[in-house]
Symmetry: C2
Subunit: 682 residues, 2 copies
C-alpha cells in the first residue's frame, strides 16, 4: 500500500527538469542531457517529499547531503529551482568560462554542491564518507531527545560509477559499517558511452550489493511510477542498519526521439527534438529555459520546509547547550571548522641528542600527542596499521556496535585494503564538516588513490595522508613497493602539500601546517628507517617549507635535500670539511609551502654564489627547479636490506661527498657567477 | 565421489613447502611466511596433478599460467622444486640485494615468473588478461584437432587482493567475458595485516562472484583435504563458460604455534617455532632448507610431464604447419614477439598542407592504417570509444559468442568504465605473448590506473595507452577532467615513454617507436582539438623524441614545447619576426626517448647561446630540465570552450610572443653566455 500523495504539480515539475536539461545542454552545445532527463522523476520525488535542506543557508549542519555521482547538469537545475545562489543566467552559462556552472559540479565553487563529481565512482565513495561522518558525529554528540546529527545522505549514481573499483571498495566498506542513513539511487538506464551496457556490464548489481550487506530495492518504472519511487525511499529511510541501494529502471533521455539510446548520453539534443519534447510535455515549443510558476512554487515550498527544519534544529541546539554545555561548545567549534585553541602546544619538540627514529614513528608520536587535544581527528589505514603506526593507543575503532569491535563514536577506521575508496571516503568525511580525516598507506600505494587525491586538492578537502615506507629505505619489499615517481607526481598537483620531513621537528612542522591548512590536503611522506634529529631543525623553520639546516659562509656547494637524505647530505658535508670544502645544507621538506614564502627568503635559502646539488632517493624529476645538479635514483629501486640498497645507488655520505667534489670542480672550471635557479624572468 | 588418488609423497611434499617457507623468510628475516604455509596443500595439488609447464623451457607458449596475486616466497619455492632456474642458494638469498628472489616476484627478472605481483589486486587482474589472451589466440588459431592454445590460467589470491577495486573491476569483466579457462583459488584465511578480516571485510565473497557470473566452489578444509582441493580444480576445469573461484578455507601459518593469527602474516617465525614446526612434520628440527628426496622426485615427475606435453605440442604445431601454413607462420611469428616485416610502411605521412586534425583523430588514422598489417594489436577503451577514437572500422568486438555481440577472435575489447582493471588486464595480455595490447581513456583517468601503469614499466610489458583529451584543450568538461600533473607523473616513471605528439607525422612517430619498443610501455597523450601539420616535422625526426621543428641561426630565444602547444609556439615566433626577434622552435614529444639520444644531438637541439622557454598547457614541473624559463598552467584548468580557456591562461600566440620578449630582455640584461640546461656536471 503506497503512502505516496500525488500533487497536481508533479508532472509539470518533472517536465520542467527534463526540458531545462535539454535547454541547458543545448545552449552550451556540450554536456549530458540523457541522465538528467531520465532521473528527473526520482530527483523530483526526493527533493519535494524528503530532502531536508535550506537553500538560503546551504551550510546548515544537519542538512541532508545530496551527491550526484555521475555529476551533470541535473544538480544545477535542482539548485536553481530550490533557490540556491544559482540564477537562470548561471544555468544559461553552463560550461562557459568562469561561470558557477562548470562542466561537472565542483565543491567550494558553487553554493550547494557538497562534493566534486564527474570523475566516475568518486561521488559514490564520497557519499559513504558523508554517511560515516554523520554516524560518527551523531554517536558522539546526540543525546536522548537531542538528535542533532541525523541527516540522510542521498547519492544518485549510474552504471559508470558502479563499474569503477573505487565505488566497489566503498560499497563493501559501507555494507560492513551498516550505514543506515546512506541511500543510493542507481539509474539503471542500460546505456553508457560505448552503447548498451550489455557490451561490458552484465553483472547482477542487485546481487552484488546484497553480498556487501546492503538493503536492495528496485523500481521497475522509474520514468513515471512516482509512488514506487516514493515508497522505495520510505523503505530506505526506515532501514537503520544497512545502507540501501534502489535500482531504478529508467529511460535515458526520456521524451527525446532518441530516448533509450546512447545518442542522448553525451551530446545535446537536436533543435527539432527539443521542440517535440516540449510539445509532448505541453510546454511552449519555442520558448527556452521555461519554468512554470507552479514548478517554482513547488520547490520554494520544499525550501521553506528546509528553512523551518533548520530553525527547529537551531532551537534544539540551543536547548542542548543548556543541558550539555561542554558537548555544545565542542560541537559548535567543530562545525565552525576551527581547531581547539592551543592544540599546537602539544606538538613534540626534539633536541639533536634525542634518539634517531623513523619518521613514521615520529608521526605516531605526533598523533599520540595531538589526538587528545583534537577530537576532530578521525583516521585509519588501508590495512597497514602496524606499519603506518596510525593507531593511537586507547583509541576505539569506528565500527557498528553489533560487531563488538568498536562503536560509531570510535575514531579509528579500518579501511581494509582499499586505498582509492579510502581516499574518496576521506574527501566525504572532510566535506561533511567537523572532521579532519587522516588516512594511511605506503607512499607507493597513494598512487592507487590518485583519482581521489587530485579531487581532494581541487575541492579543497583537508585530508591528511600518512604515507610511510617512502623510498628505497623500505628495503626488502623491493621495487614493487618502492616509490620513484610518486613524490613528483604529488608535488605537481596544485593545492596539495607534499611533506617529506627529515626528523622529529620537521615531522611536527608537517603536522602543524597540514592541520592549519583548512583548504589544502597534505601528504606526509615518512620513512621506515630511523633518522637522526638534526642540529639546525626547528618546527618554526621547517614550517616555511625550506630552510638552511646547516649554514656556512663562502660555501663551495649547497646540497638541497629532503626527508631521509638530509642526514646523508650532512654526513657528506662533514666529510668534505676535512678536505677544506665548505658545504651548506638546505632541507626542503615541502616545495609548495616553500614556494609561498617571499622571494627574499627563498633566495636567501637557495642563494647564488655556489652550485646547488639536490639529493633525494627518488626520481630527480622536478628538482631542477631548485638546483643546478641532481642526484637520485637512476630508475627503479631494489630489494634488500635498506643500507645495502642505499649503497647500491650511491646514496651514502662517502659517495655524495665524491659527487659533490665533481660538481664543485665542474662549476669552478666553468667559471663565472653561479646564479640561483630561483632567479628567473617568469 | 572423489577422483583424487593420494600419493605417499603428498604429505612430505606439503611439509617441505611449509618448512621451506619458514626457513626462507627466517633467513631473510623479512617476508610473509603465513600465506605460503597455508597455501602449501593447494599449491602442491595444483602443481603435481594439473599444472602443465616445462621448467626447462619456461616460455613454452601453451604452458599453463600461474599467478600468485598475493606475491610472496611461495612462488620461489615452487619454482625451485620444479627445477626452474632457481637454485637453493637463490632461495637462501631471498630479499637480498641483486638476487633472483626479490621481495615480491618480478616478471622479466626471475625465470618462470609470468607477472609482477605484490601490489595487491594486480595479479588477479593480470590473470584475467592472461585468460583473455588464451581465449583470443585459441579462437584465432585453433582448428579441429589442433588445440594449440588451450592452457589454463591459475591465480592464487588472498583477502587483500579481493578488497582492491582493481580486482573487482577485472572480476566483473571476466564474468561478462565467460572466461572458462580462468581458475582462481582464494585463500580465505580470515587474516590480513590489521588482524581478523572481521574488522573490514565481511562481505559475502561467494555471492559477489556469483553476481559477476562466475562459478563459485569452496573447500572447507584447505589445510589437509587434498581430495576436496583436487575435485574443485577438476570441476573448475570442466566449466568452460565461466571463470571459477574456489574459496579455500585455510589456516594461515599452518603448523606454527601462532597459526591462524596475523602474527604469522608479515614477520618471520621465531626460531623455536620453526623447530617445533619441523618436529611436528617429522623433519630434522635443526636442519634448515631441508628438501627430502621424495619431494624433489615428485616435482621432477611433474616437470617431466610438462616436458612431454611440450614435445607433443611441438609435433602438433609442426603438423599444423603442413595443413595451415599461413596460420602457422603468423602464429609462430607472434610467439617470437616480432612484428610483421614492413608494417612501418603503412604509417601515414603528412604534408603541412594537409588539414588540421585532432591528434586523437590522427591516432585513429594510424590505427586504421596499421591494424590490417599487425594482427597482434588487440585494443579497447574504458567506455570512451567514440571519444578516444580507438575502434577501427570493421573490427569485431572481443566477446563471448553467446552474447552475439562479437567473438573471441574479435580484437576490440569493451573494458567498461574500469581504467585500473583495464591497465592491469593489458599487462596480462602483454605477458601472455603474441599480443600487443592498446588501451584507451582520457589522459586524466590514466591516473586511476597508476598502480598498473607503473607495473607495466617495471615488468617491461609493451602496453600502449591511447590517452586523449590531454589538456585544457578538452574544454567544457572542465578541471575535473583536465590533466595538470599527469604528464610529469608519467614522465617520471622509469621505462615508460610518454609521447605528446604535435601533428600527424609526430603521431605516426609515436606509434612507430611505441611498437618497436617491445619491453617498454608507452602513453600517447592526444588532443581533443585540431592541430595543424607542421613545416618541419617528419616521422624520422620526431622518432628521436625531440628535434628542431623551426630552425633559425643566431636566435634570441628557443621555445621548447610539446603536443598542441607547438603550433602556438610557432605562431608566437612568426609574430616576433615582425619585431626583428629570431625564435627557434623545438618540439619535444617524448622526454625519455630524447634522453637516450647522444649528447651531441641533444645539445644541438637544446643549444647554448640563447635562453630556452618551455611551453605546455600543463604543470611546468619537470620542464626545468630542458629550459631556463617555463610557461604553463599556474594551477587547475577551467571549464569553457577550449579557445577561451587557452586565452584565460595566456597560451596564445600573442601572449607567448609577449612572454618571449620578457624572457629575451631578462637574459639580455643579465648578460653573459646563456648555457644550455643540458650542460651539467652529473
Amino acid at each position: 500500500m503506497s503512502t505516496f500523495t500525488p500533487e497536481p504539480t508533479d508532472d509539470v515539475s518533472i517536465a520542467t527538469i527534463r526540458t531545462l536539461a535539454a535547454d541547458v545542454v543545448g545552449k552550451a552545445n556540450s554536456g549530458h542531457p540523457g541522465a538528467p532527463m531520465g532521473m528527473a522523476p526520482a530527483a523530483h520525488v526526493l527533493f519535494t517529499r524528503f530532502f531536508n535542506a535550506n537553500p538560503k543557508s546551504s551550510k546548515w549542519f544537519n542538512r541532508d547531503r545530496f551527491v550526484l555521482s555521475n555529476g551533470c547538469a541535473l544538480q544545477y537545475i535542482l539548485l536553481h529551482l530550490h533557490g540556491y545562489k544559482l540564477s537562470m543566467d548561471d544555468l544559461k552559462a553552463f560550461r562557459q568560462l568562469d561561470s558557477l556552472t562548470p562542466g561537472h559540479p565542483e565543491a567550494h565553487h558553487t553554493d550547494g554542491i557538497e562534493v566534486t563529481t564527474g570523475p566516475l565512482g568518486q561521488g559514490f565513495a564520497n557519499g559513504v564518507g558523508l554517511a560515516m561522518a554523520q554516524e560518527h558525529l551523531g554517536a558522539v554528540y546526540n543525546r536522548d531527545n537531542f538528535e542533532l546529527v541525523n541527516n540522510y545522505t542521498y547519492v544518485f549514481t549510474g552504471d559508470g560509477c558502479l563499474m569503477e573499483g573505487v565505488a566497489s571498495e566503498a560499497a563493501s566498506l559501507a555494507g560492513h559499517l551498516q550505514l543506515g542513513n546512506l541511500i543510493v539511487v542507481y539509474d539503471d538506464n542500460h546505456i553508457s558511452i560505448d552503447g548498451d551496457t550489455a557490451v561490458a556490464f552484465t553483472e547482477n548489481v542487485e546481487q552484488r550489493f546484497l553480498s556487501y550487506g546492503w538493503q536492495v530495492l528496485h523500481v521497475d518504472n522509474g520514468d513515471s511510477d512516482l509512488a514506487a519511487i516514493h515508497d522505495a525511499i520510505v523503505a530506505a529511510r526506515a532501514e537503520k542498519n544497512k545502507p540501501t541501494i534502489i535500482r531504478l529502471r529508467t529511460t535515458i533521455g526520456f521524451g527525446s526521439k532518441q530516448q533509450g539510446t546512447h545518442g542522448v548520453h553525451g551530446s545535446p539534443l537536436k533543435a527539432d527534438d527539443i521542440q517535440s519534447l516540449k510539445t509532448m510535455f505541453g510546454f511552449p515549443p519555442d520558448q527556452t529555459f521555461h519554468v512554470p510558476k507552479e514548478t517554482y512554487d513547488t520547490y520554494r515550498a520544499a525550501a521553506l520546509r528546509g528553512a523551518r527544519l533548520e530553525s527547529e534544529w537551531a532551537s534544539l541546539l540551543s536547548a542542548y547547550g543548556k543541558q550539555y554545555p561542554n558537548e555544545h561548545a565542542e560541537l559548535t567549534r567543530r562545525i565552525s571548522g576551527k581547531l581547539p585553541e592551543g592544540w599546537e602546544k602539544t606538538l613534540p619538540v626534539y633536541k639533536p641528542s634525542d634518539p634517531a627514529q623513523a619518521s613514521r614513528k615520529l608521526s605516531e608520536i605526533v598523533l599520540t600527542a595531538i589526538t587528545p587535544a583534537i577530537p576532530d581527528l578521525i583516521g585509519g589505514s588501508a590495512d597497514l596499521t602496524g606499519s603506518n603506526l596510525t593507531k593511537v593507543k586507547g583509541t576505539v575503532d569506528f565500527q557498528p556496535p553489533s560487531t563488538k569491535l568498536g562503536t560509531y563514536a570510535g575514531t579509528y577506521i579500518r579501511y581494509g585494503v582499499r586505498e582509492h575508496g579510502m581516499g574518496a571516503i576521506a574527501n566525504g568525511l572532510s566535506a561533511y564538516g567537523g572532521i579532519v580525516p587522516f588516512v594511511a598507506t605506503f607512499l607507493n600505494f597513494v598512487s592507487y588513490a590518485a583519482g581521489a587525491v587530485r579531487l581532494s586538492a581541487l575541492s579543497k578537502h583537508q585530508v591528511i595522508w600518512v604515507a610511510t615506507h617512502d623510498s628505497i629505505g623500505l628495503g626488502e619489499d623491493g621495487p614493487t613497493h618502492q616509490p620513484v615517481e610518486t613524490a613528483v607526481h604529488l608535488r605537481a598537483i596544485p593545492n596539495l602539500d607534499f611533506w617529506r620531513p627529515a626528523d622529529g621537528n620537521e615531522t611536527s612542522a608537517a603536522y602543524l601546517v597540514a592541520l592549519q591548512s583548512t583548504e589544502t590536503p597534505s601528504v606526509l611522506s615518512l620513512s621506515r628507517q630511523n633518522l637522526p634529529n638534526l642540529e639546525g631543525s626547528t618546527i618554526e623553520r621547517a614550517s616555511r617549507g625550506g630552510y638552511v639546516v646547516h649554514e656556512v659562509e663562502g660555501e663551495d656547494l649547497t646540497i638541497v635535500s629532503s626527508g631521509s637524505e638530509v642526514s646523508i647530505a650532512l654526513e657528506a658535508a662533514s666529510k668534505l670539511v676535512a678536505e677544506g670544502l665548505k658545504v651548506r645544507i638546505v632541507s626542503l621538506p615541502c616545495w609548495s609551502v616553500f614556494d609561498k614564502q617571499d622571494a627574499q627568503y627563498r633566495l636567501s635559502v637557495l642563494r647564488s654564489g655556489a652550485p646547488i646539488l639536490s639529493l633525494e632517493a627518488l626520481s630527480t624529476t622536478g628538482w631542477q627547479k631548485y638546483s643546478h645538479e641532481q642526484f637520485g635514483l637512476p630508475a627503479w629501486g631494489a630489494s634488500g636490506p635498506y643500507q645495502k640498497v642505499y649503497e647500491k645507488f650511491g646514496i651514502t655520505g662517502t659517495n655524495i661527498a665524491s659527487v659533490s667534489k665533481k660538481v664543485i670542480s665542474f662549476y669552478k672550471q666553468k667559471g663565472g657567477e653561479v646564479v640561483s635557479p630561483l632567479v628567473k624572468a617568469l
